[in-house]
């Protein structure tokens, strides 16, 4: 994929052109997925015209709270990010991997036929897709399901100009402007004239843009877009200092604050389900009653369940504090060593969708406040062994 420079052939079009963009992608054989209002939330799913899009709607997000409101303008992308990211389309929550018959015959389901186009990918979400690329494609074995969805993917990104209450992509360095890896990126400008400033990131993106009616971008378009995105950077609802967070968490493996989190944590798995980078799965064999065949089914799993760490004799992480520590330490610290990138993209979903509003950014602050390295007794060391065989 050839990455073009961000300002290469920037163009401006009016909101009605969004319909033409959807039509152009459909004509090229893509199933277009974008934001829609479903069950009082902005949920990504199939869109066929701009009438499917959440025009004039915004979301208000805070810890354990999400509400939609009417805007006083016709913004098309005037919300932050939906309850779940794009993960479920690339790395589906339930996939039949193969069917095996008692006679030895094994059959694999065919890959999805239509390629996907994502409309309205936020910078944090784009970064999350790149993190999952590292995990699911660039390891020793590439995941065939993810690869078949990912290889033919077309991405229309939208830079953020109005971050939400739980956003902190400025702290994770993943937004608010879309980094690389998109086919087209847009900024929605709501000033005197409602319009979109669009740039191509790939040759294919440039080809699609060229098929749409537009005018070349002027310096005032660029200036306005730049100003709004820069303002967004300072308007994040949350922030977190990730400087030295790996050492911080490793050195605080036995900090009593983990127990404080465990008193609130429900171990319900919501943070991991909504996290756009969490990738863990389990597999189930589902035999027919007569044992003539079985399906092997892959399901999203979570490090917050007991079964997740079950090895012979019992679960390795029986306490909730150990499970939260595993998740947070992996996400913010050991992910770097394992995948060469951080696991958190600052989308804030784990804060918004935690049923009791546990805030990752606040917990990092609490570990800084209670950092065991500032206490005289050296306590850092290997993680304590707990549980043991039952």
């Amino acid at each position: 994929m050839t990455q073009r420079s961000a300002t290469d052939a920037a163009v401006v079009f009016d909101p009605a052109t969004i319909d033409l963009l959807i039509a152009e992608l459909s004509d090229r054989g893509y199933t277009v997925l974008g934001p829609r209002v479903v069950s009082d939330a902005i949920v990504y799913g199939p869109v066929t015209s701009s009438s499917d899009l959440p025009v004039g709607i915004r979301d208000r997000q805070d810890a354990a709270s999400y509400r939609l409101e009417d805007r006083d303008d016709d913004a098309v992308f005037g919300y932050v990010c939906g309850p779940q990211g794009w993960k479920r389309f690339l790395h589906p929550p339930e996939t039949t991997l193969f069917t095996a018959a008692a006679d030895g015959d094994v059959s694999f389901p065919p890959p999805a036929d239509a390629p996907l186009a994502f409309l309205g990918v936020r910078a944090c979400e784009l970064a999350a897709i790149h993190v999952q690329d590292r995990v699911l494609l660039e390891g020793p074995v590439a995941d065939p399901v993810y690869r078949s969805n990912r290889d033919r993917l077309f991405i229309v990104a939208v830079d953020c100009t109005e971050p939400g209450g739980t956003c902190f992509c400025a702290s994770t360095g993943t937004g608010p402007a879309a980094g690389e890896g998109f086919d087209i990126a847009m900024v929605e400008l709501l000033d005197a004239t409602h319009r979109f400033l669009a740039r191509a990131g790939t040759d294919l993106g440039a080809e699609v843009l060229a098929a749409l009616p537009s005018r070349p971008a002027r310096s005032d378009d660029q200036e306005q877009a730049g100003r709004h995105v820069a303002e967004a950077r300072t308007a994040m609802g949350r922030s977190v200092d990730l400087d030295g967070v790996e050492e911080l968490l490793y050195a605080n493996a036995v900090n009593p604050h983990w127990e404080d989190i465990a008193r609130r944590c429900l171990a319900c798995t919501n943070c991991t389900m909504v996290c756009p980078t969490c990738f863990c799965t389990t597999a189930e064999d589902r035999p027919s009653l007569d044992l003539a065949s079985f399906d092997r089914v892959r399901l999203w799993d979570s490090c917050f369940t007991l079964d997740f760490s079950y090895i012979h004799g019992g679960p390795v992480r029986s306490s909730v504090s150990a499970r939260y520590r595993q998740w947070m330490t992996h996400k913010l610290a050991s992910w770097h060593a394992q995948f060469g990138t951080g696991g958190c993209v600052g989308c804030g979903r784990c804060i918004t969708w935690c049923p009791v509003g546990i805030d990752l950014t606040e917990e990092v602050r609490r570990f800084r406040d209670t950092d065991l390295r500032r206490i005289a007794v050296p306590v850092a060391g290997p993680f304590p062994v707990e549980g043991g065989p039952r």
Binding site: S39, V43, D285, L291, V320, P355
Partner: protein, 261 residues
């Protein structure tokens, strides 16, 4: 040819809904009949074969001295005893009597209270005899019931998860009713198995599959109190079909103690 395994179904204090789940397996029923000989299942057939049996499904809770004796006899007649449903695994909705004066009820309801011989409590089967597997739900999920029967027949562990309802709810792509609608939902502390039916229809989970593994009911209660849910309503939420399950029982007792204090 060896005889196929025998299956028997026994009912205690219950509504029969769980054993009817077996008859609900219309598409799979012939396959089930090929796998097991249904030796004792009065809801399905008047033909009753004597024990011992290979697998026994027990529905209902223990509410009389007679039933407390009968369950011991059932246990003696089977290799594998699987309890099915909220009554058998937690005491059921009738366990609300455990907080009340049963004698008072009997005096008020019956013309001849002296005819009534009942215990003061409704308790799960596992309080009386060893149980090999507890299948939750009010009623149980028929696919889980088939899975458990098939697993025991094939000598493998059933694929029945103990984690919360939230995991399958999110896999389905549901919008969280608690966070997005402000609906009080017990999904985070309730065991999966129903397929997240209630949140799929925009209502809160009311815990008919009982407590999940490591349920932090206290934290959810604190959060719901902060959202303005009244203590009395919280007690009513927790004292449903699985009221006597320990995590719900103790959490609801603590709320009552707290509001008396």
């Amino acid at each position: 040819m060896t005889a196929i395994p025998t299956l028997a179904v026994f009912k205690f204090a219950s509504c029969d809904g769980c054993q009817l789940s077996l008859l609900d397996c219309e598409d799979e029923l012939l396959a089930v009949a090929d796998m097991v000989q249904i030796a004792n299942f009065p809801e399905a057939s008047r033909e009753v074969a004597p024990g011992p049996y290979d697998i026994v499904l027990v529905e209902g809770s223990i509410t009389t001295r007679h039933d407390a004796e009968r369950i011991r006899e059932v246990r003696r007649q089977t290799d594998v005893l699987v309890t099915i449903g909220a009554c058998a695994t937690a005491g059921g909705i009738q366990a609300l009597r455990n907080w009340s004066d049963v004698d008072g009820f009997v005096q008020q309801v019956y013309a001849h209270p002296d005819y009534i011989d009942t215990l003061a409590t409704s308790t799960p089967i596992a309080d009386h005899v060893p149980v090999d597997f507890e299948l939750r739900g009010c009623p149980v999920n028929k696919y889980q019931l088939l899975e458990v029967i098939a697993a025991y027949l094939h000598h493998r562990r059933p694929n029945v998860s103990r984690h919360s309802v939230c995991l399958p709810c999110k896999r389905k792509g549901n919008v969280c009713v608690a966070v997005a609608h402000g609906t009080a939902c017990l999904g985070p502390v309730t065991q999966a198995g129903c397929g997240a039916i209630c949140p799929s229809y925009h209502r809160g989970c009311y815990a008919c599959f009982g407590p999940a593994e490591s349920p932090n009911v206290g934290s959810l209660v604190d959060h719901l109190r902060g959202e303005g849910v009244e203590p009395g309503d919280l007690v009513a939420m927790l004292r449903g079909f699985n009221a006597w399950a320990e995590p719900f029982r103790s959490a609801s007792d603590r709320i009552e103690e707290g509001s008396r204090a």
